[in-house]
Amino acid sequence: MQGEDERKGMELAVEHINTSHPLMKELAPGVDNGLLGKKLEILVADSAANPNQAVQAEQSFINQNNVMMMTGSTSSSVAVALNKLADREKIIYLPGISGSNDTTGKDCARYGFRQGFFGEMAANAIGPTLVKNFGENRKAAYMTPDYTYGHTVTESVSTYLRDHAGWEVVTNQVSPLGTQDFSQYLTNIANSGADFLINVNWGRDAVLSTQQAAQFGIIPAMTLVVPYQIPFLAPEAGPELTEGVFACTEFWWTLEDEYPLVKQFVEAFQEKYGYRPEWGAENGYVAFAHWARMITEANSFYPADVIAQYEKGETIPSLMGDVFYRPEDHQCVRPVCIVRGKARSEMQNDEDFWEVVEVLSGPDVIQPVDYLGCELGEI
C-alpha cells in the first residue's frame, strides 16, 4: 500500500519529466519533454518488501532492459541490498521509503542517493516535542520490527529521549516482519508499567499491532507515539487510535497552505489518482525530480558524471524549500515535520488525519556527517 503510493509519485514524476510539467520545471529546470532528448520509461516489479525478490527483479531489469537507474523500496532491507547491488552493477539507485540510519550510514553506497528522512532525523525532530509535551523521566515501551529500519529508529529515538530527558526503556519488544498475532508482545508491554507505547512497526505490522494494542486496552492506557509516520496507518487503524498521537514525517498534504509547490503537487496527484498523496508519493516524486535535475545539469547519463553532479552538494529546490545532498554520505538534508493525530470530530475531510505542529529544517535535525559511519565505495 505504501509502495503503491510511492510508485504513483514516481510515475507522476516520469510523466511530468516527459511533458515538461511546470512543477517539474521548478524543481529541474533542464527538463525538456524528457531528459537530454530521451523519454523516460519506468519498469515496475513487486518486491513484496522482500530484498531477495527486489534484487532478483532489478537484476532482470539491468540485464534485459539496460535500466539507467534503480529506485524504490518501502523497506530498508531492500534499500540496503539494492545499495550494494548498485555499487556492484554501477547503476544509480534512489531508495524510496527507507527509514534506516544505515542506508546512508554504515551501508551507504557511492551509487545510492537518499532523498527521504530516516530514523535519526525523526528522533532529533520528535524528541523535543515529546519532552516539551510530556516532561522528563518517563517510561516507554518500544515495539520494534526486526530489521535495520526498526532497530535503528528505536536506537535513535530511545537514545535521544534517554540522553536529553532521562526517559527509560522499560521494554523493547522486537517482532519479526509479518507478525500477525502480537498478543505475546503486547502482554509484556501491558505488564511493563510503561506510560508510552512507541510503535516503530511498519505497514501491515503497524496496523495490526496498533489495533491489537487497543484490544488489550494498552491504548488508551498508554500514550501511543509513532516516531516514523506510517502512511495510511490512520485510515486503516481509524482516527480513534491515532487521535493525539505525535508522529514525525517528511510531508503531509495540509502543508499546501504554506508551500505553493506542495499545493501544485497535491492537486496534480489528486487529479490523476483520486486521493491526496502520502509522504511516499512525495518522496518518489522529489527523488526523481532531483535525479532529473542532476542529469540535465551534468548533461550526461553516465553514472560517474551524475554522481559528480550530486556530490557538488549544491542547494536545490524541493517541494518544501531548499535542500542539498551531502557529498559525504549522499543523504539529502531536507526539512521534516511533526504532526499530531486529529480526532474524528476535528477532521475537515475524510483525509484530514493529521495536523502539522511544526516544520523543522534539515540542518537542525540531521546528525553530523561522520556520526553513522558511512564510507562510500569506489566509483
Partner: protein
C-alpha cells in the same frame, strides 16, 4: 518482564493460541491417522475458512453466519478435494500425496491472492464480545476469551464425533490399524471423504474464529501449518488426545518463552519437539499405528 501478572496473562495467551492449535492439529491428525494422508494444504484450509467467513460477514454482517459459512465452505472444499484428487492417491507412494497437497495449498493461496489481493481483511468480533473484560486478576480482550470458549466447545464437539458416533469409531479403528477398516465391510470411500471434510473443516473453523483476533491475509495459514506439524509430532501422530495435549504444550511454550524474549519462543518450541523425537519418537501420546 518476569512478574506474576505477566505470567498469568502469558499463560492465558498460551491457552488461547494452544486451543486454536489443538483444533487445527486435530483436523490434521484425524485425516492422517485415518487416510494416511498428510495434508500440506491444511494451512490453506485455515485460510479459506477465514475468507469464507469474511465474505459471509460482508454480506450478512453476522458473526454467527460467518462462522457457519466459513466452516461449511471448507467442509465442502475438503470433500471436493478428497473426491476429485486425493482419492486417486491412496494407492500411490506417500510422497505423491505430499506433493499434490503441497501443490493444492499453493493453488488455494495464490487463487485467493489473485481474487482478493494481498492486503489484510478484517472481520470484526460480534458486538457483545468487543472491548475488554476484567477477570479480577487481569484484564483481557473479551473476544479472545470468547474465542477460547468457542474453540474448546468445538474440540468437545470433535471429541463427541470421534468417541460417540459410528464414524468416529471407524476413524479410531482406522488409526489403530489401517488395514482393518477395509475388512469391516464399510464403505471406506464414503468414510474417507467425510473424515477429510471434517478434518479440513476443523482448520477452517479455527480460521474464521481466529479472523477477528488478527485479521486475514492469503498467507495467514502458512505459519499455522508448520506449528501444526510440531504440535502433531509432540502429541503423537494420529492421536486426538495427543493433538490437544501437543497444542496446549505448544501454546504455553510459545507464550511463556515470550515473557523472557519472544524471539526465542519458536526455537524453544522446536527444541522441545526435537527432545520428544529423541526420547519418545512416536510422540507423547502416539500409537504405533502409522509410520
Amino acid at each position: 518482564m518476569l512478574s506474576w501478572g505477566n505470567f498469568i496473562s502469558q499463560m492465558f495467551n498460551g491457552l488461547v493460541s494452544g486451543a486454536l492449535l489443538a483444533l487445527i492439529a486435530s483436523g490434521l491428525t484425524i485425516i492422517y491417522g485415518t487416510l494416511g494422508v498428510l495434508n500440506l494444504a491444511h494451512g490453506a484450509m485455515f485460510m479459506l475458512g477465514g475468507y469464507g467467513g469474511w465474505i459471509a460477514y460482508t454480506y450478512t454482517g453476522s458473526y454467527t453466519v460467518a462462522v457457519a459459512a466459513g466452516t461449511i465452505f471448507v467442509l465442502l472444499v475438503g470433500v471436493a478435494m478428497e473426491r476429485g484428487i486425493i482419492r486417486h492417491f491412496y494407492n500411490r507412494p506417500p510422497e505423491d500425496q505430499l506433493l499434490v497437497t503441497f501443490g493444492l495449498g499453493i493453488v488455494f493461496v495464490e487463487g485467493v491472492r489473485l481474487v482478493f489481493g494481498s492486503l489484510i481483511k478484517m472481520t470484526p468480533p460480534p458486538e457483545i464480545f468487543r472491548g475488554i473484560t476484567n477477570l479480577g486478576f487481569m484484564v483481557y480482550p473479551t473476544y479472545r476469551i470468547a474465542a477460547l470458549v468457542i474453540v474448546v466447545v468445538a474440540l468437545g464437539a470433535l471429541y463427541l464425533i470421534l468417541y460417540r458416533t459410528r464414524i468416529g469409531m471407524i476413524v479410531r479403528a482406522g488409526i489403530e490399524d489401517s488395514t482393518m477398516v477395509g475388512s469391516l465391510g464399510i464403505n471406506v470411500f464414503k468414510v474417507f471423504m467425510l473424515v477429510f471434510g471434517i478434518g479440513a473443516a476443523a482448520a477452517g473453523f479455527a480460521g474464521i474464529v481466529n479472523a477477528p483476533i488478527v485479521s486475514i491475509a492469503p498467507d495467514v495459514g502458512d505459519r499455522y501449518l508448520v506449528l501444526t506439524f510440531v504440535v502433531v509430532i509432540i502429541g503423537g501422530v494420529g492421536s486426538f488426545p495427543g493433538a490437544v495435549l501437543g497444542g496446549l504444550i505448544a501454546g504455553q511454550l510459545l507464550s511463556l518463552t515470550s515473557m523472557i524474549d519472544p524471539a526465542y519462543s519458536e526455537i524453544v518450541l522446536f527444541v522441545a519437539m526435537t527432545l520428544v523425537l529423541m526420547f519418545r519418537p512416536r510422540g507423547l501420546l502416539g500409537t504405533a499405528g502409522r509410520e
